[in-house]
């Protein structure tokens, strides 16, 4: 699924302009870094794509869905094509690590055996299998972040929106996570990753889009990125 955002402006109550005339096209299978200073509008842009935020102006097309016109019932099915790593994780504190990952599949009606297999496999992959019986409040910040990533990719989404997925990780684990996202991207998933981590952007070359005060002020294709931008 490719994403076409045209002329999107979002003004929150209190006249807060979070996005200001954004045009952005992301083809199916691309890997895009979204960079920019604090409060520049990265999260808002991702939330426009997941239709958590409805633009004040402009159009958002994802695959065959027009997000302005999408009906409530279709929304659930649209979101099953997305994987989202929230900046604040949003894990469910009452459920164990395993259940946090499994319930996504359950909500899609996947049979119990397959739920077990796939959840287990993905937890292995982010290195959280040994913590599967703990609940999120019992995890360290970095461990919670890895569970959040596991949850976002367990349903093999067509588009992965990762909002600062390495904010609580040490450099080595961050490397591993970006390698993981890259391998997921290699299997066809579009990845959009908001990040402040200059090192990662330098080390793993992909397209870089820079947001500043709600506008896109730079859009460098893979390899052409220069390290002088403000993350």
């Amino acid at each position: 699924m490719d994403i076409r955002i045209s002329g999107v402006t979002k003004i929150f109550e209190g006249d807060i302009v979070a996005l200001d005339g954004v045009y952005l096209s992301v083809g199916a299978g691309e890997f895009v870094y979204l960079v920019g200073t604090t409060g520049s509008g990265k999260t808002t842009l991702l939330r426009v794509i997941s239709r958590e935020v409805l633009p004040t102006k402009g159009q958002v097309l994802v695959g065959e869905f027009d997000l302005r016109r999408i009906r409530y019932n279709d929304l659930a099915y649209y979101r099953r094509d997305l994987g989202i790593v929230f900046q604040d994780f949003r894990l469910l504190p009452h459920l164990t690590v395993f259940e946090n990952v499994a319930f996504i599949l359950e909500a899609m009606g996947v049979p119990p055996k397959e739920v077990r297999d796939r959840s287990g496999f993905i937890l292995e992959r982010v290195g959280m299998w040994h913590r599967r019986f703990l609940r999120p409040p019992q995890l360290s910040g970095g461990e919670q972040q890895r569970v959040a990533i596991a949850r976002a990719i367990v349903n093999a989404p067509a588009i992965l929106l990762a909002d600062e997925p390495t904010g609580n990780l040490d450099p080595r684990t961050s490397d591993e996570i970006v390698q993981l996202l890259t391998s997921i991207n290699a299997s066809g998933t579009t990845v959009i990753m908001a990040t402040h981590n200059q090192y990662l952007v330098d080390a793993y070359r992909h397209r870089v889009v820079e947001v500043h005060r709600g506008r896109i002020i730079r859009d460098e294709p893979q390899g052409r990125y220069m390290a002088d931008v403000d993350l």
Binding site: F12, R47, S50, R51, E52, V53, L54, Y72, N73, L75, A76, Y77, Y78, R79, R80, L82, I84, R90, L92, H94, F103, I104, E106, A107, M108, G109, V110, P111, P112, R151, N155
Partner: protein, 294 residues
């Protein structure tokens, strides 16, 4: 199929996570339905009692001498609400009088000409029908005088309408209370899982999948509460009737098993429906709000 299993699991999690709240709801619902059932029984009994008393409600209309009894009878018949009319000719009345006087019957002969008027004895259905009937009878040209147990009939009819309005009020209050209690419980359950609901909707769960456990929770609570109330009520009623009947043998209480069973079924059905409505209202509004984009 697997969805059904998840649904059941989530419903029971809901019920047991806040078991204090569930228990409280159960008891509140029981109390409300108990009240509902008790007021139904009260009004059924009041009606039953009145029926018994009213079975003998009779208005006597003394007609003017020489009136055509059959014509008058037909006229009265058309008034409606009338169970039975007995015409009594002067001769019949005299015979009755003699019979009543027994061995002193010969006194009647002292009366000379038969002085008794032709009479209509009119049985009505309800105490409340007596006063209007009496008024219409008095207004008839043929009628000389009307005799009825006016005070009693009017008191009974006032009591009856009082009980009727009371149980109607209780019915309304109880339904509102039941809906409020269930609505609130489900709303609190929804509220305490608000983050969860948000996340579930964000990751692609359908509204139905999210809502159903809450709706089932409400329905189960409604059902269990009503069932508990029905059981307590019918058991309690049986022993209450025993006690009351022995202290007030002059009152006739209702002891119709089939009717009581039907009352129980109605209560449980109402519990399920109210649970359904209340929890549906509680959860759907919340889900709609959570689905709304910023």
């Amino acid at each position: 199929m697997s969805t059904f299993r998840y649904l059941m699991r989530d419903t029971f999690r809901l019920l047991f996570r806040h078991w204090g709240m569930s228990l409280l709801t159960l008891f509140s619902i029981s109390a409300v339905f108990f009240l509902l059932g008790a007021s139904s029984l009260l009004s059924l009994n009041a009606r039953h009692l009145l029926d018994n008393v009213e079975g003998q409600l009779t208005v006597q209309a003394y007609l003017k001498a020489g009136t055509d009894l059959a014509a008058a009878r037909d006229k009265v018949q058309s008034f409606g609400n009338i169970v039975q009319i007995t015409s009594v000719t002067p001769d019949e009345a005299l015979e009755r009088l003699k019979a009543r006087l027994g061995n002193r019957a010969e006194v009647v002969t002292l009366l000379g000409d038969n002085p008794l008027p032709p009479t209509l004895e009119i049985r009505v259905e309800r105490a409340s029908h007596v006063p209007p009937l009496a008024r219409r009878l008095v207004a008839m040209a043929e009628v000389d005088d009307v005799v009825y147990a006016g005070g009693l009939a009017e008191k009974l009819s006032r009591l009856s309408s009082f009980v009727g309005r009371l149980s109607m009020a209780i019915l309304v209050i109880a339904i509102v209370a039941a809906v409020m209690v269930l609505f609130n419980t489900v709303r609190m359950a929804v509220y305490s899982r608000r983050d969860e609901i948000h996340v579930m909707l964000q990751v692609g769960a359908t509204q139905t999948y999210v809502a159903l456990p809450f709706v089932l929770q409400g329905m189960l609570l409604g059902m269990a509460g009503a069932a508990l109330a029905a059981l307590t009520l019918l058991k309690g009623y049986a022993s209450a009737v025993d006690v009351l009947a022995s202290t007030m043998p002059f009152l006739q209480f209702l002891r119709d098993g089939a009717l009581l069973a039907r009352l129980g079924v109605v209560l449980v059905g109402a519990g399920i429906s109210l649970g359904w409505i209340a929890s549906w209202l509680a959860v759907v509004r919340f889900i709609r709000a959570a689905m709304k984009p910023l």
